[in-house]
């Protein structure tokens, strides 16, 4: 069984960032992803990112994806696609399958970058074909150049809701409405203004009662809600739509972290249950790191820098590369993360992250420089 300095699971921005940093420090790196292509959800992001130049502001998501793939290629990261990890054992043996055969390998460190799932919403008719996550519609439109439908209802006015609604408009769909149960648009105003300018009705204090249609969606019944989000009787009305997109939040994909025995905690701001981790992305399991949406739902640019930080800390623990250089890069990565968590939206996430770091440090009695148990043969980082 082959042993790598790092086995990285998930080839989205976080996993790519981690794998690149470890490989650049001279570590042997295996990057595993269940999809046919690397990049995670970056390649369907066709809007320009915010932030400063260091965060690739003004660059579209898929361009960042292309840059990352070039970086990974130059750093000689070994990428295995179409491969699903189904087991992680206490000695950091990783077992995976490509649907034809299983194989196992060991990681001196493991970086989990498994991302998130979009939340579902339950209502009568919610399982009808034509009800899909906003991300699904975005994938179909932006990656495969197919309109998921012609008349679309968007449920949720967070960033995903308003961005995807605008991108579906760009692809030529008609957005019947964007609805939200709260009394204000929850996504960035910059994105919300674009759909308002295009004349899309943004209906607040409004939610979906049911979807109707024979074998597939033909429309929806909406109704208004009161201050406690309770439906107001008698306010129902019908709208026609062939597609209902759900943009109602994301949840970290915790499965692999859970089977690895990583202690986790619940944090509503960051999307629910997530593995406890330190400021350098170490979980409470020796040698196991997390990064990206798994470590709390944020943005692609945050995921990328968390990946880099995790990779740099793993490289330091493994004794790879030049310590001073790696520590410099690590500090820069953390500074970029701090600046990404500023502003009215970012501050909430910063405080939530601080909670997680605090919990991790309370539960973590080991010194910051970890001892990696190398299959019985201890080696000090």
């Amino acid at each position: 069984m082959k042993t790598y300095d790092a086995v990285v699971i998930g080839a989205g921005p976080a996993g790519l960032g981690a794998a690149v940093e470890i490989a650049k420090a001279g570590g042997t790196t295996l990057l595993i992803d269940e999809n046919e292509r690397p990049g995670g959800q970056l390649f369907k992001q066709i809007h320009k990112f915010f932030g400063s130049k260091e965060h690739y502001a003004g660059t579209r998501g898929y361009e960042i994806g292309q840059m990352l793939l070039r970086e990974a290629e130059e750093a000689r990261v070994d990428i295995r696609l179409n491969t699903r990890v189904w087991g992680i054992f206490p000695d950091r043996t990783v077992v995976a399958t490509d649907d034809n055969r299983s194989f196992s390998c060991r990681g001196r460190t493991i970086i989990l970058a498994t991302g998130a799932s979009e939340n579902a919403l339950s209502f009568p008719g919610s399982t009808l074909p034509g009800v899909m996550t906003a991300g699904a519609a975005q994938t179909v439109a932006n990656l495969y150049h197919v309109l998921p439908g012609k008349r679309i209802l968007m449920v949720g006015s967070g960033n995903v809701g308003v961005i995807v609604a605008y991108q579906l408009l760009q692809a030529g769909a008609r957005i019947e409405a964007v609805i939200d149960v709260t009394d204000q648009v929850t996504g960035y105003e910059v994105h919300a203004r674009k759909i308002k300018r295009a004349g899309v009705p943004v209906l607040l204090r409004t939610t979906i009662k049911e979807a109707w249609g024979d074998k597939e969606v033909e429309g929806a019944i909406l109704h208004r809600v009161d201050d406690h989000f309770k439906p107001i009787p008698g306010t129902e009305w019908r709208i026609q739509a062939d597609t209902i997109c759900l943009a109602v939040g994301l949840t970290p994909r915790l499965e692999l972290a859970a089977i690895s025995g990583c202690a986790s905690a619940y944090n509503p701001v960051l999307g629910g249950m997530l593995p406890l981790h330190t400021t350098t992305m170490q979980t409470l399991q020796e040698g196991i790191f997390v990064a990206g949406d798994l470590a709390g739902i944020e943005e692609a640019s945050t995921a990328l820098d968390e990946g880099r930080v995790a990779g740099l800390q793993a490289a330091l623990d493994l004794g790879l590369g030049e310590t001073d250089t790696l520590e410099d890069l690590l500090r820069q990565g953390q500074e970029r993360l701090t600046s990404l968590r500023q502003g009215p939206f970012g501050e909430h996430r910063q405080r939530a992250k601080e909670c997680i770091w605090q919990l991790a440090s309370e539960r973590n009695h080991r010194p910051a420089s970890t001892i990696i148990n190398d299959g019985g043969k201890e080696r000090k980082a």
């Binding site: 699904a136 309109l147 760009q170």
Partner: protein, 118 residues
């Protein structure tokens, strides 16, 4: 024939160049290399991909990224293929999957286990 391909786009260039044909229950559908089976079906207005085992309800693409299993179809005789992420190849034959596909494929080739999603 009318379809939902997006060839004109303010940001994205149409970068598919190799045309292919897949068959949905003998109906030929034009797609391009690099597109998934699920996307090609949607482009031709086909959205009902699977019928559940016990309640016989229709299902289609839900998550679109291979996580949820709602889009299982029979592809070239193999059940439980997630068509939302499976890239299309020329001449692929795609069928709606009814439950575990036993009635269509026989017990040997059908998907094992109960359909937990009802």
């Amino acid at each position: 024939m009318e379809n939902l391909y997006v060839k004109e786009h303010p940001i994205l260039a149409w970068d598919f160049d190799e045309q292919l044909t897949i068959y949905f229950e003998d109906r030929p559908l034009v797609g391009w290399k690099g597109q998934t089976i699920g996307a090609i079906l949607l482009a031709h207005g086909i959205r009902y991909y699977r019928e559940t085992q016990r309640l016989h309800e229709p299902r289609g693409i839900f998550c679109g990224i291979g996580q949820c299993s709602d889009c299982y179809m029979i592809v070239d005789g193999q059940p439980n293929v997630k068509v939302c992420t499976k890239l299309a190849h020329d001449n692929m034959h795609v069928q709606r999957q009814i439950g575990t596909a036993q009635a269509i494929l026989g017990p040997d080739k059908s998907a094992s286990g109960e359909d937990e999603t009802e």
